[in-house]
Symmetry: C2
Subunit: 243 residues, 2 copies
DNA sequence: CGATATGTTGAATAACGTCAAGAACAGTGG
DNA sequence: CCACTGTTCTTGACGTTATTCAACATATCG
C-alpha cells in the first residue's frame, strides 16, 4: 500500500530550492490547516479585482496567470506548476490585479492568509524562502519581457520551452531534460504574444528540424543544448542557486 | 534662503502612497545613514551579476532597469523616477539578475542593506509599505507583458506615456496631467520592443493627430482622456489605492 | 566650433497577422 | 463501442505591421 505524498510536498520542495528549510520549518508548513479544491480545466482559481481571503497552492495540474487587454486579447504572464503558490502577493496586496485560470484539471490547497502571515512572522527560514520565491517570480516576469520585446517568434517559443523544461527538471517532474506539457497552441501563443496560427507554423519547423517532438497535445524536447542555444536561455533569472 | 528637501523625501512620499507611514516611521527612514553618489548619463548604478551591499534610492534624475538579450538587443523593463529604490529585491536575493543604467544625470542615495533590513524588521508600517512597493513593481512588469504581447506599437507607446504621466502626477512631478521626460526614441523603443525608426514614425503620427507634443527630447501630452482611450490604460495595476 | 549622438525620411524586405476551410482530435451521451 | 459535437490543429492565400538599410538633417556636448 503506497502512501500518498503530502499535498504541500512540492510547495516545500520548491521553497527549499530558494533557501534552506529546517525540518521544523517543513513541519510547520505541513501542519498548516488547508482544504483541497478540485478545479476543472478553464476554471478560475482567482479573478482580477477579487479580494482573496485565502492563499492557494497548486497541488496537481497546471494553471496560468493572465490578463485581458482592452481589445480582448489575452496575455498569459506566467505558467504555474504543481507546488507553485498562486497568490502569495495577496499577503500584502488586497485586490488582485490579474486572474488565475486552470490550464488542466487540478487540485488547489487553500491556506488561510493569516496562517501564512503567522508562519512568515515566526519562522525566519520560511520567511526567507517565501520572499525569495516572490522575488524570483518577479525576475521571471522581467525575463519574459526580454522574451516578448527582443526575441523573434521561434526563439520566444524555444525560450518558454526551456524555462518549463528546467522548472520541471528541478521539481523532479521530468526525467532527463525532456518534459511534456499539455498546452494548446493558442495558450502558447498567448504566452509569447503571437497568434496560434503562427505558433503552429513555428512548431512545425522546430519539429521538422528535430528540435522538438509533438504527440497530440504533448510537446517535448530532448536536446537541451540545442534548445538552449536557439533560445539564448540562461537559467540565472530563475534564482535556483546553481541547480 | 530656501531649505532643500531631504534626499529621501520622494522615497517616503512614494512609500506613503502604498501604506500609511506614521511620523515615527518617516523619521526612522530620514535618519537612515546614507551617502550620495552623482551618476552621469549612461552610468551603471548596478550591473547584472553584481552582489550589491547597499540599496540605492534615486534622489534626482531618471534611470531604467535593463537586460541585454543574447542577440545584443536591449530590453528596458522599468523606468525609475526620483524616489524609486533600485534594488529592494536584493534585500533577499544576493545576485542581481539585471542592470540599472542612468537615463539622465542624477543622484543616488546609498543605504546600507542591514539598515533597511533592520527598519523592515522593527517597523511594521515601513515593512508593509516596502513589501507593497516591491509587489506593485511586479504588477507593473505584468502590465508591461500585456503591453508587449497584446498591443500594437502605437498603443504600446501611448500606454507607456500614460503610466509615466500618472506616476509623475502622484509624485507631484507634473502639473496637471502633462509631463516631460527626457527620453530618446531609442530608449522608448527598447522599452516597448520596437525599433527606434518605428518609434519615430509613431510619434510623428501621434503628434500630427494632436495627441502628443514634442519639443527637443521632451515628450508630453495634455489630453489625458484621449491618451487613456488610445492606450487602454487602467491605473489599477499601479496599486496606488484610488490615487 | 567640430564631433558624436539622435532624429527623420524613403524604399525594399521580412515577420507576423487575418481569414477561411478542412482535418484531426477530445469529450459527450446513447 | 459508436456517432455526434465542439475544440484544436493545419494549411494556403493574402494583407498589414514592423524591420532593415541607408542617407541626410538636426541636436547636443565638449
Amino acid at each position: 500500500m503506497e502512501t500518498l505524498p503530502h499535498p504541500l510536498s512540492l510547495f516545500v520542495k520548491d521553497l527549499a530550492l530558494r533557501a534552506p528549510l529546517s525540518p521544523a520549518d517543513r513541519d510547520a508548513i505541513y501542519k498548516l490547516p488547508h482544504t483541497l479544491r478540485i478545479l476543472e480545466t478553464s476554471a478560475y482559481a482567482l479573478r482580477e479585482a477579487d479580494m482573496p481571503t485565502h492563499c492557494g497552492v497548486l497541488v496537481s495540474g497546471f494553471a496560468f496567470r493572465q490578463k485581458i487587454a482592452s481589445d480582448g486579447g489575452r496575455q498569459i504572464m506566467a505558467i504555474l506548476l504543481p507546488g507553485d503558490a498562486i497568490d502569495l502577493q495577496n499577503l500584502f496586496l488586497d485586490v488582485s490585479d490579474h486572474s488565475i485560470q486552470m490550464m488542466t484539471r487540478g487540485q488547489l490547497a487553500m491556506l488561510r492568509r493569516e496562517d501564512i502571515q503567522e508562519i512568515v512572522r515566526t519562522r525566519p527560514g520560511v520567511r526567507q524562502a517565501i520572499f525569495i520565491k516572490i522575488l524570483a517570480e518577479a525576475s521571471i516576469f522581467r525575463e519574459w519581457l526580454v522574451n516578448l520585446g527582443q526575441r523573434q517568434a521561434p526563439e520566444r517559443v524555444a525560450h518558454l520551452l526551456c524555462e518549463l523544461g528546467f522548472r520541471f527538471e528541478v521539481l523532479g517532474l521530468a526525467e532527463k531534460y525532456g518534459y511534456e506539457l499539455p498546452i494548446t497552441q493558442e495558450e502558447l501563443g498567448d504566452a509569447t504574444g503571437i497568434t496560434s496560427v503562427h505558433v503552429n507554423r513555428i512548431l512545425k519547423k522546430l519539429d521538422a528540424s528535430g528540435f522538438v517532438t509533438r504527440n497530440r497535445r504533448q510537446i517535448s524536447f530532448s536536446n537541451w543544448s540545442d534548445m538552449r542555444t536557439i533560445a539564448g536561455f540562461n537559467a540565472r533569472y530563475l534564482h535556483m542557486q546553481g541547480k
